[in-house]
């Protein structure tokens, strides 16, 4: 599909200090009826963001104008549940380019990487430091350096290395996707296909 290349991102972050955030919360099923990828950002965390009468829930973090930026920080086990890529689309379309957590669900992580969101997995300790720093100062800036695989809290100068598969890293740095790769080896795939038993 093509997405913006990801090199270095310096931004404020929105702290969502909840564990096991599942994809049904990120985007409830009733908003999955589109046949095009449009309008998902508006319904990000819909039922946490709005009351049933569509008035905003004041205490939800995305409704608090103090917080903002292109980074979403979530509690442990972020993105569990359904395989709906709409969850990643909603996050991207809302304006986030990076999600930080101490643990990600598998399919969600893949979906993010496939559409150009960088999932950054940090240690439990580093995650609590991030939450604490943002709590003290909502303007706290984080820097994500993909090339060096390093996440830093700029003011306090603490940083941590994060893992990413080298192939996926290269894709993110260049804005490539898997389909480009696969189409290039189509011949090899066709030969393989002819020899499959099922």
């Amino acid at each position: 599909m093509g997405y913006k290349k990801f090199k270095i991102l310096t931004s404020k972050a929105v702290p969502l200090q909840i564990e096991n955030v599942d994809t049904d919360q990120i985007i409830p099923a009733r908003f999955l009826k589109a046949t095009e990828r449009v309008g998902f950002g508006d319904n990000l965390f819909r039922d946490w963001k709005y009351n049933q009468d569509n008035t905003p829930k004041k205490d939800f973090i995305l409704n608090n104008p103090i917080y903002g930026g292109e980074i979403l920080v979530g509690g442990k086990n972020f993105g569990s549940g359904s395989s709906r890529e709409h969850a990643a689309w909603a996050i991207y379309d809302y304006g986030f380019r990076c999600v930080i957590s101490s643990f990600f669900a598998d399919i969600f992580r893949n979906n993010c990487l496939n559409i150009g969101i960088l999932p950054v997995q940090v240690s439990d300790d580093f995650l609590s430091i991030i939450f604490k720093e943002i709590e003290n100062d909502p303007k706290t800036l984080l820097e994500i350096n993909l090339l060096e695989q390093k996440i830093s809290i700029i003011k306090s100068r603490v940083s941590e290395f994060f893992e990413i598969n080298p192939y996926k890293k290269n894709n993110m740095l260049n804005g490539f996707d898997d389909i480009d790769y696969l189409i290039n080896i189509k011949e090899q795939i066709s030969i393989f296909a002819k020899n499959t038993p099922l």
Binding site: D24, T35, D47, K76, N77, L182, I185, A193
Partner: protein, 464 residues
């Protein structure tokens, strides 16, 4: 080195290994449905490519479909639009399409096995996380996102890092009213919803070999709820007997050839797993969930754990109990129930309806309960009628709906109202999963039946 069942199936499908990267995995069966495919087809159009293997691709409509009056036009314009897109895309790309009203229509993971699309030793993907269901036949099956759907449509391959391997061993005899659903909820309660993230699970032991194919599907279906990429069980005589002579199963010589391959699909002695768990069948009881993720399950007669016993995440735990309207330390027995949902790809097969019927037979539906009984497919629906189960249900005051995912994800009109409690045989009790504000208690068809006739959470063992 000794190979596991998973190794054998995975490795034989690797077209190419990207150095320092994922495997290019060839996909034998790709199932698609109306919700996660339209954007993938748009992607194909943008790239100007077509579907590489239409004969390995199967489309059904299930997520979004009404479960009453399916012969009438779909009311919701957005749903109707998605269904139309699936039909048009399938026709355009010459993909087998079993849409709404088709006699083979049903939930994607129910119809795959019913028609022999699901086979041992195959790689199977679908844009739905419960694709793990097909692992019951010894397939490597897992859910994918829409970009990956596009990938498989255009190249019949997917790029995946090979997951780590986990084995879950359970031996012994299951107690009264303990079903495969309880076995799965028990495992998830022990491992938590992230306990198997990064792993592919093999279920091993006499508990799984003695299960019917339907039961194995229920167990494998729920693998994703502990974070696993998928779960599988080695094929055996029961598996071969189940698939023989189904529409898409190989016939005659091809069958013999396939059998030669399938007989090799087992984990060799001395194989090493990255992680192993051992549980005892006698420790498993009828289960029910009390919170907002499938890992929050307890034996039905026990009390809701105290927050202080929960490792970390106390804020999240409290938020979850508040949502459910429960307090720590309370028992689940006797809690009021407003809705009962029997259905989904977890427990919407004929065996589940038989089990439900056995409990409610000769009894009456509780007046305070609204029951949605939704077969997983037309084939299941027909069996319900043929086996006389429909009569039993009707006599007890229950009605049967038409097949689809229904209240499992509540994309259609089958939504549990805010604040109401539903005992559901589906797979997720997330906040709002069954409708905004709905509260879900996951359980087996037997526990659901007990709730349906008593109007509250009831230990089914007290009923027979």
């Amino acid at each position: 080195m000794s190979k596991t069942l998973f190794d054998k199936v995975w490795d034989s499908h690797v077209v190419k290994h990207v150095s320092n990267g994922p495997d290019v995995l060839f996909i034998d069966r790709h199932m698609i449905h109306e919700v996660t495919s339209p954007v993938a087809f748009l992607g194909l159009e943008k790239r100007g490519v077509s579907v590489l293997c239409p004969n390995k691709t199967f489309a059904t409509a299930d997520h979004n479909t009404p479960t009453v009056n399916q012969h009438l036009p779909v009311q919701d314009p957005l749903s109707a639009n998605q269904l139309k897109a699936l039909e048009e895309n399938s026709i355009k790309h010459k993909i087998s399409f079993w849409g709404l009203g088709h006699k083979k229509n049903g939930i994607v993971h129910v119809i795959g096995p019913e028609y022999g699309i699901t086979l041992p030793g195959a790689t199977i993907v679908c844009g739905d996380s419960h694709t793990s269901t097909h692992g019951a036949f010894g397939a490597v099956a897992f859910g994918i996102g829409t970009s990956e759907v596009e990938m498989v449509l255009s190249t019949q391959c997917i790029m995946q890092l090979k997951p780590k391997k986990m084995r879950i061993n359970i031996n012994g005899d299951l107690g009264k009213a303990v079903t495969p659903k309880d076995v799965a909820l028990f495992i998830i309660s022990k491992l938590t919803t992230s306990g198997a993230t990064g792993y592919f699970v093999e279920y091993f032991g006499n508990v799984f070999t003695s299960m019917s194919m339907e039961g194995r599907m229920t167990v494998c279906n729920l693998s994703i709820e502990m974070g696993a990429r998928g779960g599988m069980i080695a094929p055996d005589e029961k598996t071969f007997h189940y698939i023989k002579n189904r529409e898409f199963t190989p016939k005659n010589k091809s069958w013999d050839k396939a059998m030669d391959y399938w007989q090799t699909l087992y984990t060799e002695k001395d194989s090493v797993f990255d992680k192993e768990y051992h549980f005892n069948a006698v420790d498993i009881e009828p289960m029910i969930t009390y919170g907002t993720n499938p890992g929050m399950g307890i034996p039905i007669t026990e009390e809701i754990p105290k927050a202080s016993f929960i490792k970390g995440g106390e804020i999240t735990y409290q938020k979850s109990l508040d949502y459910m309207g429960y307090n720590e330390g309370e028992g689940m027995i006797g809690k009021p129930v407003d809705f009962v949902f029997l259905g989904s790809c977890t427990n919407g097969r004929i065996e589940d309806f038989r089990a439900f019927a056995e409990v409610i037979k000769g009894r009456k539906k509780a007046p305070n309960v609204t029951a949605w009984l939704v077969p997983g497919s037309h084939k299941v629906l027909n069996s319900i009628k043929e086996e006389g189960i429909l009569d039993i249900l009707n006599k007890s005051g229950f009605k049967l709906r038409e097949p689809g995912c229904s209240a499992c994800l509540a994309m259609n009109d089958d939504k549990v109202p805010a604040g109401k409690y539903a005992v559901s045989t589906s797979n997720r009790n997330f906040e709002g999963r069954q409708g905004p504000g709905s509260r879900t208690l996951l359980a087996s068809p037997i526990v659901a039946a007990a709730a349906a006739i008593t109007g509250k959470v009831t230990d089914p063992r007290t009923l027979f």
